[in-house]
Symmetry: C2
Subunit: 316 residues, 2 copies
């Protein structure tokens, strides 16, 4: 049932960095103050229509092809809600940047819709719906952007069917996400990965992942640095980002704790001990991209970024 006294709800969902080097498909963190805003306005008819997408072109307006409207439609159908909604999407995340743009739109739309419900869904239930949006946007039901966008901070997905999330403690350091103006298609990035890996490599990666998680609980920066090497995915995807290793090296040379792809790229993330270092590292990475003729934007954030939240409710 829909609350009768609400006319319009706007929700914000943050951009996210998924994978985080050693946590392919399971780790992710939310980025402070960068994200999408989705507004749902009740309609008099029962249609679900995207009225406006601002901040980005090239996103389908058709309800069934757009992740945000498709998840709204699915949840309305499942709950037999006959109210229609006009959807306004304000993109703060570039498409194909590897910063969880489609996830943020789906999550913001679902959080806005949830505010209309007499019996709102849990975050886990919303995450299940957002998975459908990811399938529409990139052909794969991956939860590693959805979960940090919903929960905030750094998250670990213990299981994606059913969703079970572990929220990790906030590292007392800073992160940089830098977006070079390139595009990597999520599907191409998946295709770059071999279906199998050796047991030996699996063990090496597990050793780093387990140590990385330990380092988060202990805020142990030395261990975090030692355990940040991704043996499985990074070597296979590095070729998709021109001059990846040069930019990574420039960040490490400037004192970064760890550097790898944000999601499947082209954006990269880096960890820095403090805000001053973060700025230095980000600028050096930007300069290095520029050397190769690539423009970029970056954001600096701590690990306390809030998950999706309601920005505005208009009654009436």
């Amino acid at each position: 049932m829909i609350k009768k006294n609400l006319k319009s709800v706007s929700a914000f969902a943050p951009a996210t960095c998924a994978n985080v080097a050693v946590g392919f498909d399971i780790l992710g963190f939310a980025i402070h103050n960068v994200g999408d805003i989705v507004t749902l306005k009740k309609r008099d008819d029962n249609q679900i229509i995207i009225v406006e997408i601002s901040g980005e072109s090239n996103i389908p307006l058709e309800t069934s092809k757009n992740a945000a409207s498709a998840v709204v439609k699915k949840l309305c159908d499942d709950l037999s809600i006959s109210t229609g909604f006009s959807i306004y999407i304000q993109k703060g995340i570039a498409i194909g940047s590897g910063m969880g743009g489609s996830a943020a739109s789906s999550v913001a739309a679902l959080v806005a819709l949830n505010a209309f419900l007499e019996n709102p869904l849990s975050k886990n239930e919303l995450a299940e719906y957002a998975l459908f949006g990811e399938e529409i946007a990139c052909g794969h039901k991956h939860a590693d952007n959805i979960v940090p966008s919903l929960f905030g901070g750094m998250t670990l997905i213990q299981s994606s069917n059913p969703i079970n999330v572990v929220t990790l403690p906030s590292l007392e350091i800073y992160n940089i996400v830098i977006h070079p103006h390139l595009r990597v298609n999520t599907k191409d990035a998946r295709d770059a990965l071999q279906n199998d890996l050796s047991l030996k490599l699996h063990v090496k990666q597990c050793a780093n992942l387990a140590s990385f998680i330990s380092a988060i609980y202990k805020n142990d920066l030395e261990l975090l640095k030692k355990s940040s090497e991704d043996y499985v995915v990074e070597p296979q995807r590095a070729k998709l980002i021109p001059n990846f290793y040069e930019v990574k090296q420039s960040a490490m040379d400037s004192g970064a704790i760890s550097v790898s792809f944000s999601g499947s790229g082209p954006s990269l993330f880096a960890f820095a001990e403090n805000e001053f270092m973060a700025n230095k590292i980000a600028k050096n990475m930007q300069d290095k991209f520029k050397e190769y003729g690539i423009e970029s934007d970056f954001w600096i954030s701590n690990f306390k970024a809030q998950g999706a939240y309601i920005k505005e409710i208009i009654e009436g």
Copy 2:
């Protein structure tokens, strides 16, 4: 250089449970009050000789083939120590039980030898030497028994070359290690494993491993239980232990948090919420083995078991 005033040193090193379900080759914990004692007595000549092995037959007495004497010989050679030693080994761990018997002997021998040194080695350095013992005993330089036997408690190996160890917080629960009177050869157990695994399985295992580590830091028993399923190794090795799944089920039915092999078996470990439950679970596992005509012994321990230590020093 060797201390002149020491005549004899005895050291104890605990039995260990390696792998711990989701931590193949990287996780392990020490078992309280079960282990090997190795005594080194200075000789007048420069020979390194095993004088006695008690508590177990079928262990080679030849210096180069016995893990304990081989590591003593190697360290003496590397440090150009010309003093000879008589070695007395008191086995508290059955050979081929999957409880780290060879590792305990090597570790105890090295800790005893270390007490003779004017400049003793660090634990990490001792671990590097103990690896040679594992190679002699089972043809594979695996550190996952050595490390918990040296460090105590539950340990994580971030890197085995060079050795880098993370000591994990002590879970506030109990563990059971049960040894059915069967033998599984470590080499056969390794041969049972395929060299490759799918990326999909790797991700599932990583999700559980990362959650398992989180659960240890949070002492979150629900999460520990959820994340204890080993998708990679257990299914491939289960066939080596007759009625493994029946015994595991009996433990789970009695309230165990997790159950799997200790190392490559045949011993199994189980986690229990408290000591009372641990006894109940252990007895039910023992009864279940007995139903299939298999006798067994079990030990119950908390997660605070001390690593290898000096038991006795005789001066003179």
